[in-house]
Symmetry: C2
Subunit: 569 residues, 2 copies
């Protein structure tokens, strides 16, 4: 089955000589990317005759022709499609190649397969370079189709499945689209802190970060190995000090020589030092250090209580109020005990912040950003999107096209409530009562975007009572310049607002919602000194992936999901 160069037609020989011009070799590896073969518009047919080295993991393999050769479907994660590889029995022990999950690196020649096969190209192997075997009886994910729930118990291997690999590529594409969008529009990427001593909206849901527990455990071990001095030890040391003191006194009274006195004083000092060390050690107590019955955070790593951030917004505002257009893209945390398919304890957020801009600008930016991401996926990830459409959500590609092309509906909160009330009159049942002043529930949001308008909807100007203190108070004194972007499939995708830039107004609002001023003094400084009209929003990155792919559970669109009771790896 193997053929020699001599058997190739001249054009193929030429192609083989110019290999690097046509098949992209990976820059930091001696193999080619499988995508550079099967991801071509011609399915790779134009590469027939080229010699390549390919590496990847076997998706499915089978011995054929009574064991004279094997077919392997090889995938290296560069695209959803596999490369069909044909290995002759003379080149390797075929039974060691065919198990799902086996890693193989092979040299071979690309050939057009016989008429009637699905593939446009296949690789006839000339040499098996290396094999990473799999014992199929022990491999935790041997089959190609496993439930997403099952895979959550095998986080370290699940990226080897078609679904999780496709999600990884889509997630990567959306992340780079995010950076590209904001960079193209002159935003600076700012790394807001993960560790924070500011509490954005109430400490209830924050994870605490501390070294007090490990320090106290270290101390506990140390005290067992090396017990603290007893009262008797300390009394004895005190006795030594007093004796040495007496000795010095006597020498002085006796007008002893200077050197004698100096020596004696040195002895005294040594005794004093020893006593003070013992007294210090006697104060050491196992357990977390306390003061006045409360934990003594002055002894914690940052000399105060520290938490994991729930949002970078307040901090990134300090940069917006200095370099105008900024965004964060980083992990955020909620210590919520929610076990839903929409919540994670650790998730990624994108938070732009724009100076010299108002709520209209904010909505324009949010809409442009979401459309940009949709277009990016259609442009760069269509093969993965086709896989998602085939396997999970028929409508996902149409949804991207629709959102990318249709202007988002924009309605005020008041209009939204009127529409919901109309719907109720028309017989629509909601679990949560509809009236002006409520926070819109997910069912209301989904009704607006999925039923009423069947496209993205931006709701703006919410009642101030249900929104955060930093949102700009409108002239009606009842609503604030907030906006939420609702999209089919997930409901709320983005929440944002124009920020209150007037010092007196925001100070009043902080007090009104019952927060102390002191922790916000730095935030107030932004309004005290050179204040600027500004706005921003937050996009839950995993929600965007759910929206794009149609995947139901947020735990499947982040590589290492963290939720109550689980933080594997």
């Amino acid at each position: 089955m193997a053929e020699t160069d001599q058997a190739l037609p001249p054009s193929d020989q030429l192609a083989a000589m110019n290999l690097t011009d046509t098949v992209e070799k990976h820059a930091f590896s001696d193999r080619v990317l499988i995508r550079s073969i099967v991801g071509r518009p011609d399915g790779g047919a134009g590469l027939a005759g080229q010699r390549v080295r390919a590496g990847g993991w076997v998706k499915t393999g089978r011995e054929q022709g009574k064991g004279t050769f094997a077919f392997l479907e090889l995938n290296d994660g560069s695209c959803p499609a596999n490369l069909q590889v044909i290995v002759d029995a003379g080149l390797a022990v075929l039974s060691k190649l065919v198990a799902t999950g086996t890693c193989v690196v092979v040299d071979g020649i690309l050939k057009v397969p016989p008429e009637g096969t699905r593939q446009k190209i296949e690789l006839r192997v000339e040499k098996v370079v290396s094999v990473g075997e799999v014992d199929p009886a022990k491999y935790p994910i041997p089959k190609t189709k496993l439930t997403l729930e099952f895979l959550r118990d095998h986080l370290h291997l699940r990226a080897r499945t078609n679904t999780i690999a496709a999600i990884a590529r889509i997630r990567n594409a959306l992340a780079f689209a995010t950076h590209s969008f904001f960079q193209e529009h002159n935003f600076l990427y700012v790394h807001t802190p993960i560790l924070t001593t500011s509490d954005c909206e109430g400490a209830g849901e924050m994870f605490q970060v501390t070294t007090l527990i490990s320090e106290s455990e270290k101390l506990e071990k140390e005290l067992i190995k090396n017990p603290p001095p007893s009262e008797v030890d300390i009394e004895a040391a005190r006795q030594v000090v007093s004796e040495r003191g007496e000795a010095v006194k006597q020498l002085k009274a006796a007008k002893a020589s200077k050197s004698e006195i100096t020596a004696s004083v040195a002895e005294l000092n040594k005794a004093k030092e020893n006593l003070s060390k013992l007294e210090e050690r006697s104060k050491l107590k196992p357990g977390i250090p306390k003061k006045d019955g409360k934990i003594d955070y002055t002894q914690d790593f940052f000399a105060r209580q520290a938490f994991l951030t729930v949002s970078g917004q307040l901090q990134v505002e300090t940069y917006a109020c200095a370099v105008s257009n900024v965004y964060t893209f980083g992990p955020t945390f909620r210590a919520e005990h929610s076990h839903t398919s929409r919540h994670l304890a650790e998730f990624w957020m994108v938070e732009p912040e724009i100076a010299f801009a108002d709520l209209q600008d904010d909505m324009n930016c949010a809409e442009a950003y979401v459309k940009y991401m949709c277009n990016w996926l259609l442009d760069k990830c269509l093969d993965d999107m086709q896989f998602m459409a085939k396997s999970y959500d028929k409508g996902c590609i149409d949804r991207l096209r629709m959102v990318a092309s249709i202007p988002f509906v924009r309605i005020s909160y008041t209009e939204a409530v009127e529409l919901l009330e109309e719907a109720v009159k028309g017989g629509k049942k909601f679990e949560n009562e509809v009236k002006w002043g409520i926070d819109l529930a997910s069912e209301h949001e989904r009704y607006l975007t999925e039923v009423k308008f069947q496209k993205p909807v931006i709701v703006y100007n919410y009642p101030k009572g249900i929104k955060a203190f930093y949102m700009r108070l409108n002239d009606d004194l009842k609503t604030v310049a907030a906006m939420d972007v609702l999209v089919p499939k997930v409901g709320e995708l983005i929440g944002g607002s124009q920020r209150e830039e007037r010092y007196e107004v925001i100070r009043e609002r902080i007090l009104e919602v019952g927060l102390p001023l002191e922790p916000y003094e730095w935030y107030l400084d932004l309004r005290r000194y050179g204040t600027v009209k500004h706005c921003g929003f937050g996009l839950g990155f995993e929600r965007m992936i759910l929206f794009a792919t149609g995947i139901e559970n947020i735990r499947d669109v982040i590589p290492f999901p963290r939720y109550p009771g689980r933080a594997d790896l």
Copy 2:
């Protein structure tokens, strides 16, 4: 001083009409970026006659001409250069505009200033749109030149200084260069977890993440408001149960009606339920929950001890061994009590991981990545680099050019030690002894890169005794396939290795260094099933910024530095 349209020469009128064609308006704001004026190769001269709206903060301002007009140097963070703005006294109270830090938005017309001035263009204001005032007596950073150390106490305002703004733009550029480099080379960006239950290299330096303390404080408060039942309360409840039980028994013995018995049983059940509730509450104890004298982590948020990650490497390997080429770029943490100018408790790391690749590929990738970043800065941030060269480090631009163009020296650890020993023989003094087997100290690394070679140096094949268990054992059984990239100014910039892909060898190495196997079983699985040759490295992102800018203290190149005793905002 204001001029009307009629006074403009015709070509300027035309230019004014075509404003959006020539001056870039910010996409989500009604102002133009100052960079789009003064950042042009002609310094903005070609825009004379155009009407624009500009916004920014006053760097310096002064009233002139006996108070008839004011000069403002306006900066919006889009570039290091300011726009010179001239405001007539008739348009605003000039004294309210000139203080450093004042935010102004103005409409005006661009004019070529009189001969002999530094500026190529200035903005003659026609209307002052808005002003965010500053009281210079109270403004914490009123002067334009303040020490970096002073600014660390004003994190929320320091981005308004030339230096911190320039660093923000350089940092942004390096971050996007990082993504661009890896995306161009077909790497997938993978978000490795921040919260982890794996301990990469020994728990000593990890921050613990917990909800136990806040939960116990919540409980403590609740128990004060609503004290737990006393033994007497419980005894009384027990009494009720026994009475109700007796009543049921009697009714049954008396063959009472079914409804009477049912009612009595219901009463009994209610009493039992009450008792069990009281018993449950009586078990509540203030303080962190313990079991067998140890903290009971099954009651913590993740049902086990959790930490902040020190590296995403082990986790990202699971993706490399599935989709081939990946990288992480995220925050990492060390609870080290180091107060040096080179350490942070929270810092950002870039960690690529490449499958089907060995140590040579790893070095090639690291060198190409560093060169790419240097070229990127020279190409896109030259104005900021010129500012750094002028203000902090004369040689920084030359250093970028040198690193971008010169091949990195590559020497083995053994050769490096020989060179250091030669240097010692030649009279060079090191604080740390030089001999084969030592971990190279910073002074050794800087000698090699700054003195001996005066260019970047990659040292590879280190003694296994000083390196991590996951690095691939070389055939000499004494060294591992590790490599460090050393650069002038900072020393070690990158550390990487080929990973041990052989199951038996890595298992042996884990035991050899005294680690338990169980927590690494998932990591071993990557070698058990479909193992692949792979390598990777980590780049400390802040070190790259120090290298590029010549800034001395790492606390000044991250927006919100965290170190022992400090985590402001």
